[in-house]
């Protein structure tokens, strides 16, 4: 049963292949359904694999399924093989699960797009890559998936490539990720040089020198920072919202961006040997969480808020990783996948219903028009805000607990971030679903232009009808399921007793004993829980009141935050421009100096020849003078030789 693991990536691969070659012929709805089926197949295979894994116990829950030898040179030997263990199965389950729902959602969302089949081609390819990433038994196979998801992310962000912003965003995402990939590649090199293998198993079992472990950990973290949008490489993620919304939900919220967290958890034993690296990870994580949360407070684009919120939540996960609470990180990853996917899909539903309006200031009172979307979104909001007993509360709580153990300062920042999270999500919900109906005031022409530009084809009647409307069932059904999961996800890992901590227990063979659980007193736990809950409630309450009717509160939306600390400008001036200038300078050097030297030789020959030509005067006397001069020259040598 456990061998069904091979089918997990195979299903989307088959779907991808079919759609790649026949997608155009299969056409609009059917290709979407095929993709969804492929994804569903993967989910079923994942479940079977999970069942197979459950039959094993303890350390046995570590199964490697070799497919074929991929690369082999000298002592390097890399198999294309899958590692089935609790961690990967957890990942696979929620990836395929959420993935299936989002595929289903996309069937409706993308309906009418002229590149409909292509979308699913990419989506299936993405799913395949993501599954390879989490199932890969060696760093290299994981890297295959890692880069694959990056490429698919690129394709999907710039899916509407005729929009220059989309094209630019895709490129930005790829390049920024590439910077992180350098870390991953160097980590692989260092690993290979150190232990002679790239297998995760070997790496995790190898005793490493502290410096090496720190090196590997930090290099991997560099990779993870790229993929999981940590400071300072997070800048691509907000731009990535240019992609279709299901993409944002699947790739830029639920799955791909968590790959970095997964990767670090995968090499948890290495991190354990590298405390400095862990501290760095924790600090960067909490800083990311805090900074992104502040930015999210001042955003008006419904998806941008969610994007920064994602960055912030990823910061939380990193914080957990840095604090050694790997199970907490995974737990939050799962719950986050539920509620963030939910909210993205909800936002997509809103955008869909609003005919591609994304500005929250132009929405309001939407719960009347699209109730399912609204209520499911609200569940997501409560969950992310950390209101008990929704799933976010449980997972965030565990992270803050771990942070407190690492350092109260980390905890404090985490707490403030939690407060901010509650606040900006409340702001969003108030602006979008409550308050007065502002979209009627919106400029019709602008709408029309946006819609046209969006290339997001609609039926003629929809074009004419500007009233928001609820989405079709294929879109709402996933919302409902996800809402349920977001609400109840906490059940996976209740903190009351080790018996309830199902996920932690399940992950135990991978991460070993959680230090925090063992060492924290229950009283402290309860106090911390209370404080966090309070913070969340304060955030919710403040946001609810502040944004009850107002739409513009400049004091709360400082330009600095709205512009995301001018990060893009800074990157542009500090990195892009200088490197471009440097490249231009190199080109100038290449043309004028390096090639100039080559052409200089030619010029020299030409000039020298011209000069010598003037010596060839045409007068025979001067020719004779040459002969005489040559004679003097040769005789001079003779004199030198016989006399000197």
């Amino acid at each position: 049963m456990i061998d069904a693991a091979a089918f997990i990536p195979l299903c989307p691969l088959v779907g991808f292949t079919i759609l790649l070659f026949f997608g155009k012929r299969i056409g609009d709805p059917l290709s979407g359904w095929i993709a969804t089926t492929a994804m569903g197949g993967a989910f079923i295979s994942a479940c079977i694999t999970f069942a197979g894994l459950l039959q094993l116990h303890g350390a046995e829950r570590h199964h490697i399924q070799k497919l074929f030898t991929w690369i082999s040179a000298g002592s390097l030997h890399v198999d294309a093989s899958l590692l089935v263990d609790p961690l990967s199965v957890t990942m696979v389950l929620f990836i395929t699960g959420v993935g299936t729902l989002i595929h289903l959602y996309s069937v409706g969302y993308m309906h009418g797009d002229e590149k409909y089949p292509k979308f699913f081609v990419y989506l299936n390819l993405f799913a395949f890559s993501m599954l390879m990433l989490v199932l890969g038994s060696s760093m290299l196979v994981a890297f295959l998936g890692w880069e694959g998801v990056g490429a698919c992310s690129y394709f999907l962000i710039s899916f509407w490539f005729d929009r220059p912003t989309a094209a630019a965003a895709g490129k930005k995402a790829f390049v920024t990720n590439r910077v992180g990939d350098v870390g991953f590649m160097l980590a692989m090199s260092l690993t290979f040089v150190t232990i002679g293998s790239l297998d995760f198993t070997a790496l995790n079992q190898a005793p490493l020198a502290r410096a090496t472990a720190t090196g590997i950990a930090l290099l991997l973290f560099l990779g993870a920072a790229g993929k999981s949008a940590q400071l300072p490489l997070y800048i691509w993620l907000p731009d990535a919202m240019e992609g279709p919304t299901p993409v944002s939900a699947l790739i830029h919220a639920a799955t791909m961006v968590t790959a970095g967290v997964y990767l670090l958890c995968r090499v948890a034993p290495v991190l354990a040997q590298a405390p400095t690296a862990s501290t760095v990870i924790a600090i960067v994580g909490v800083a990311t969480a805090f900074v992104a949360a502040t930015i999210a407070c001042a955003q008006n684009d419904i998806k941008k808020v969610l994007a920064y919120s994602t960055v912030s939540q990823l910061g939380y996960m990193m914080l957990a990783v840095g604090c050694g609470a790997y199970d907490a990180a995974i737990f939050h990853m799962v719950t986050h996948a539920f509620f963030k996917a939910l909210m993205f899909l909800g936002a997509g539903s809103v955008i869909h219903g609003m005919h591609h309006e994304q500005d929250m200031k132009k929405m309001g009172a939407l719960r009347k028009f699209m109730p399912i979307t609204a209520y499911t979104f609200i569940i997501g909001w409560l969950s992310i805000a950390g209101v008990p007993p929704f799933s976010g509360f449980w997972s965030k709580d565990e992270i803050l607990l771990a942070a407190y153990h690492k350092s109260p300062i980390l905890w404090a920042f985490g707490l403030i971030t939690a407060l901010l999270t509650a606040y900006y999500m409340t702001r969003q919900v108030r602006l979008v679903f409550y308050g007065e109906q502002r979209f009627a005031r919106a400029d019709h022409n602008e709408h029309a232009a946006d819609a046209e530009e969006a290339e997001h084809a609609h039926d003629a009647q929809h074009e004419a009808d500007h009233t928001p409307h609820e989405s079709p069932w294929v879109m709402t059904a996933p919302l409902v399921v996800l809402a349920a999961l977001a609400a109840l996800g906490g059940l996976l890992n209740l903190p009351f007793s080790p018996r309830f901590a199902v996920l932690s227990h399940f992950l135990h063979p991978v991460f070993g004993e959680s230090l925090i659980e063992a060492h924290s007193a229950t009283t402290l736990k309860l106090v911390l829980v209370a404080v966090t809950t309070l913070a969340a409630l304060i955030g919710v309450a403040y946001g609810w009141n502040r944004w009850s009717s107002a739409t513009d509160i400049p004091a709360l939306e400082p330009r600095l935050l709205a512009n995301a600390y001018e990060a893009d400008t800074i990157v542009d001036t500090v990195v892009v421009r200088p490197s471009r200038a440097l490249a231009e300078a190199s080109f100038a050097v290449d043309r004028n100096v390096v090639d100039g030297a080559v052409n200089g030789v030619a010029t020299l020959v030409g000039k020298g020849g011209g000069l010598l030509r003037t010596a060839q005067t045409g007068y025979v006397r001067s020719y004779a003078l040459f002969v005489a001069g040559g004679t003097a020259l040769l005789l001079a040598w003779v004199v030198f030789r016989s006399v000197g």
Binding site: T617, G618, R621, L625
Partner: protein, 101 residues
């Protein structure tokens, strides 16, 4: 005791040099050609001097050949000169400098 041979040889060298200078500075082709004759005579003198010093008839025999060559050269050379200056006035080598560069 006769005059030492090195004086003859130095004289020949001087004659040779004067001939060379003449060839280099004169512009009349015929005079240039005469300067070549001077040089050849210098060589002849050298041969004869060596022949005396080496007590060897060979040197004198060589002079004989040089003279023949000189005669043949003069015929051909003058032929060329005549062929040129029959078709154009003047007889300086400087007049002919179309070929150059």
């Amino acid at each position: 005791m006769t005059v030492p041979v090195h004086l003859y040889l130095a004289l020949a060298a001087a004659l040779f040099s004067i001939g060379a200078v003449g060839l280099l500075v004169r512009r009349n082709v015929l005079v240039m050609f005469m300067c070549v004759e001077l040089m050849l005579n210098a060589v002849n003198l050298t041969f004869v001097s060596f022949a005396r010093e080496l007590n060897d008839i060979g040197g004198q025999a060589l002079v004989f050949f040089v003279m023949v060559v000189a005669a043949a050269e003069v015929v051909v050379g003058l032929g060329v000169i005549v062929a040129i200056f029959r078709r154009r006035s003047g007889a300086t080598a400087d007049d002919l400098h179309i070929l150059k560069g």
